[in-house]
Amino acid sequence: MDLGPHAVFIVASYLGAAAVLAALIGWLVLDGRRQARALEELEARGVRRRSRGG
């Protein structure tokens, strides 16, 4: 595919966008897993909120 004389700017834009969005999605997914794991560990130890666990 011929993107013309400014191909480097076009490719850099799309790669930059892909990198930023991939980093953001990766961070969100990893953060979600970390929080879910921490919650599971606490619940496995029998920790309950005061309103439920007394």
């Binding site: 400014h6 834009s13 966008a17 961070w27 929080q35 130890r45 920790v47 005061r50």
Partner: protein
């Protein structure tokens, strides 16, 4: 007790459980979503649809951008940068509007999820603002001959990026989360004045950045269609990431509450001393 005092949102409390159920049925959507458990349930079901929908539409936009859209008569193939620059710029402003609305919801209505929404939207909005700046710069070099000019539109968007960073820095600088939420909300509402400045900067000042072309203007369909498809795909992606960020924040707050409960229970059991977590 007056009759009104025995009612829950207009429902007689002769049978308290039935009254409560009716009251919950009469709740507005925002009231229903005020319950984090219900929000987690709804968002958990919605998120895969948003994620797959945005992925499919962005894939279609990429196909249209690289295999269908012709080169522009003035910009040549460089117009392809617009297919990510314009949606990024639009989402940079929309994310801030969402933060401002959420901040208003926190300060005025004390909605339990308002701060969760504002906090989750900030890094995503900052990322889209960064993308708008970078892709605009990469478009500007071949078209204007410069990566950057201190033009009113570019400068105001740069200020928006710094405002996002300021919101995140202010929140993370305080340990008291409730106070941090309120102060961040006040700053977000003060900063909302930047949105009309960005929007109308091309009309108020003589800028190098072109005025808004709009979606119903003279842009040819062959260029406008991939632009619209890309904008829809990016918007769905934004909402998917925002929901995911909100879900993460709800989980983080649950973890924090449980850790606090664990410490308090250990202190109670140990006569004030912090003991090891209970089995």
């Amino acid at each position: 007790m007056p009759a009104a005092g025995r009612r829950v949102t207009g429902v007689s409390c002769a049978d308290p459980l039935q009254g409560l159920n009716r009251a919950m049925q009469n709740q507005s959507l925002t009231q229903k979503l005020a319950n984090p458990t219900r929000f987690m349930d709804l968002s958990g079901r919605l998120l895969p649809w948003l994620a797959w929908g945005s992925t499919s539409i962005i894939a279609a936009a990429l196909y249209l951008a690289f295999f269908v859209a012709p080169p522009d008569y003035q910009q040549g193939h460089t117009v392809k940068i617009m297919f990510i620059h314009v949606p990024s710029a639009w989402l940079a402003m929309m994310a801030y509007a969402l933060i401002a609305a959420s901040s208003f919801g926190l300060l005025v209505f004390r909605h339990p999820l308002a701060d969760v929404s504002a906090k989750a939207a900030a890094p995503i909005g900052a990322a889209f603002t960064l993308l708008a700046l970078v892709t605009g710069s990469l478009w500007g070099k071949p078209m204007w001959g410069a990566y950057w000019v201190w033009d009113a539109r570019l400068t105001s968007v740069l200020m928006l990026f710094f405002l996002y960073l300021g919101l995140m820095a202010l929140r993370s600088s305080m340990e008291d989360e409730a106070l941090a939420a309120k102060l961040t909300a006040v700053l977000a509402l003060v900063g909302v004045v930047l949105l009309p400045i960005i929007k109308f900067s091309v009309d108020w000042w003589n800028t190098l950045h072109q005025p808004s072309t709009g979606l119903t203007s003279t842009v040819h369909t062959s260029i406008r269609t991939p632009l619209l498809v890309s904008a829809v795909g990016f918007s769905l992606l934004f909402f998917a990431m925002h929901l995911k960020g909100m879900r993460n924040e709800v989980l983080r707050r649950r973890v924090k509450a449980l850790r606090l409960a664990e410490v308090e229970r250990a202190q109670g059991a140990g006569g004030g001393r912090v003991a090891a977590p209970a089995e």
